[in-house]
């Protein structure tokens, strides 16, 4: 079975744009139920976490909680800087510098 990539791209585009535009389309008529609004508040932090935690803890697909894992070292720096300074640019730049320095100089 071969996947039709252009059909996939079209469907992904429809789904993605649909999610983002659905509420905007009828902005004047829409009010979200307060309960749903409260639950959705957790959506972004939870989904983003479910993406980045495996990415740094198991970069090769296996749990790697060791000092040989530069992703884990970089993420630890990112978490500390983000909680301490609450600055996204500083978090990205310092943690990436630490990540690459550790990967190339230490390992």
């Amino acid at each position: 079975m071969s996947l039709n990539i252009w059909l996939l791209i079209a469907l992904m585009a429809v789904v993605t744009f649909g999610i983002r535009y659905a509420l905007y389309a009828r902005a004047n008529a829409v009010t979200l139920p307060p309960k749903l609004e409260r639950a959705l508040k957790y959506s972004a932090p939870c989904v983003l976490t479910a993406i980045w935690v495996p990415a740094v803890m198991m970069p090769q697909g296996e749990l790697a909680l060791t000092a040989n894992n530069p992703y884990l070292v970089g993420a630890t720096v990112a978490i500390v800087v983000a909680l301490w300074k609450k600055n996204v640019l500083l978090t990205i730049v310092t943690s990436m510098l630490c990540f690459f320095a550790y990967k190339w100089l230490v390992l």
Partner: protein, 235 residues
């Protein structure tokens, strides 16, 4: 003070820059990985320019490489992008007054980074031209993402081993920078920790279903704890 559309548009571009720093390496690695997964250059550019959804593009390319069927990939796209619905909901009061010709591009640009750079501006400045700032952020991020994708395609074909450099760490760094400021109360911390643990535990399940389980469970835990704490307060 009501800044002009031009001033706000430029301010939007400037506010987007910190997140572009994280987005560019991620876009480059996306370009190289997509080729490795078997897509051609135009399909890779198509994903970045027509779909424009960083993490969903990443997930999709991983699933294509694993030979997953079309329905599952579209389903995963839906789940991974569902969080954009809450961004739309929270920006809704600010875009209500705009005609559709504005809402359509603003909706198309509504990704994590654009929301993260735009929403604070709406809170800080009451300005009827703020949609120009939103547009500036969106255009800047869209262009940088697509240029990075093309650079990744060129690098991927010409530089041996670029996929092993670890440029994908930029995505994790950006997401950490965006998530940590939310951890200001118990329900949010509990929800995020639940998602973190379950994402690792369920990682090996097929079709990225683990991502769905971890996300939904984290939201449920956060919401349930918030309900319980507010009930306790009342009693």
């Amino acid at each position: 003070m009501n800044d002009s559309p031009k001033t706000l548009f430029v301010k939007g571009i400037i506010d987007a820059l910190p997140l572009i720093v994280g987005g560019v390496p991620f876009g480059i690695i996306f370009g190289t990985l997509a080729l490795n997964a078997g897509l051609d250059s135009w399909q890779t550019i198509g994903l970045s320019s027509i779909v424009f959804a960083g993490s969903a593009q990443f997930v999709a390319v991983g699933m294509i490489a694993a030979g997953t069927s079309l329905g599952f990939i579209v389903g995963a796209t839906l789940i991974v992008n569902l969080r954009h619905l809450i961004y739309a909901a929270s920006l809704l009061p600010h875009i209500k007054h705009l005609p559709q010709r504005w809402r359509i591009p603003l909706g198309f640009f509504l990704i994590d980074e654009v929301y993260a750079a735009t929403y604070p501006n709406y809170l800080k400045n009451a300005n009827s031209n703020n949609h120009w700032h939103y547009l500036g952020v969106g255009v800047a991020f869209y262009l940088s993402w697509n240029i990075a994708t093309v650079v990744g395609i060129l690098f991927g074909a010409n530089i041996e081993g670029i996929a092993d450099w670890g440029l994908d760490f930029a995505m994790s760094a950006t997401f950490i920078g965006m998530v940590m400021p939310h951890l200001i109360n118990k329900p949010m911390v509990a929800g995020v920790l639940t998602s973190a643990v379950l994402a690792v535990v369920t990682y090996s399940l097929p079709h990225k279903i683990g991502l769905v389980i971890a996300s939904v469970a984290g939201m449920a835990v956060g919401y349930a704890l918030e309900q319980r704490l507010s009930e306790k307060e009342r009693s």
